[in-house]
Amino acid sequence: MIPKIPTKLEYVEDHGVSVDEQILYLLQVKGDFDKGFKLLMEQYEERLYWHIRGMVNTHENANDVVQNTLVKVFRNIAKFKGQSKLYTWLYRIATNEALTFLKKEQRRHSEDLDGEEKNHLNTLPASSSVDGEQAWEALQKAIEQLPDKQKTVFVLRYFDEMSYRDMSETLKTSEGALKASFHHALKKVEKYLRETELYC
């Protein structure tokens, strides 16, 4: 009796191949969009949402950007050649979408940002015990002040806990430069939080 040759998906399931490989197999080889869509969303929707949320601050903005990101991902995944990890490719698209959004916003509100946002900071309560929401808001205000490159590096490292190696693949920047950017960003955010008297 001829033994049944397992399909790649069965092989993948039996041999514990990574979820990323399963996603790519479903979407690129098997053409099972429903399963591939579900698996990718289960694996990445929250992570991408919080990454984008860290960069664009509000839920409304994050919702717009994450939708654009995911639509772009599914429309282009057939062209993904596996030269980088799926994970870093997804983060690169999300980061680019968030930066494009921020640039549009900056252009739209270039006049207002300077005055209003800085003044708002000084109105944060000078209290020794702040609740989580206030802390989050203060942190977001601090992140908003960073230049785009430092903001991206800060969010990838602080919120997403991405390694410098993966960050280097995502942003096509050397690890040394990323460490320097994160160090600068940390100093700025920490100073900003200290100035708002947000002691934890």
């Binding site: 919702n63 802390a135 920490e190």
Partner: protein, 172 residues
Amino acid sequence: MRNMKNKELHKELKEQAPILSELKKKGYKPTLPDGYFEQLRREVRAQLETPAPAKSRHVRKMAFSPLRLAASVSLLIGLSFLLFHFLRMPQLSGTENIASAEEIEAYVFSHIDEFDEDMLLEYYVADEANGKEAESATKEEDPFQAIPDQELDEYLDDILDDIDETTLENLL
């Protein structure tokens, strides 16, 4: 926010940013609307079912910023200055059409008898000495020679990010 699994990050935060380290440990995350991710899936699928908009070739509009304006004015002044001085330079007869090194060389060779020998010798010695001096100065004084171009660019980008537009304009 996930628990801080990354020990390296934990160490970085503890050493460099104690407030951020504390915030990270508390792990606060704002609440999202109920069923948000289910809604997100539905919306993404709906968008994917509509055909992608055709890519239109659009001309990128020139955005005018004070920085660009300042750079353009500086360039214009610089060019005007050079043109002004070039026009005021005394012209040697027969040299108006000299445009390239080959033409200069040809001119010198055809008029070699008209040059003072001592002056030519003096010029040659001075030129050779200057060349050697310049070569050694380049070797000794260029601290960036050992740094790869890409790293230098990234470092300069970083510095540029930190400078606000006003400071940059003042530097111009």
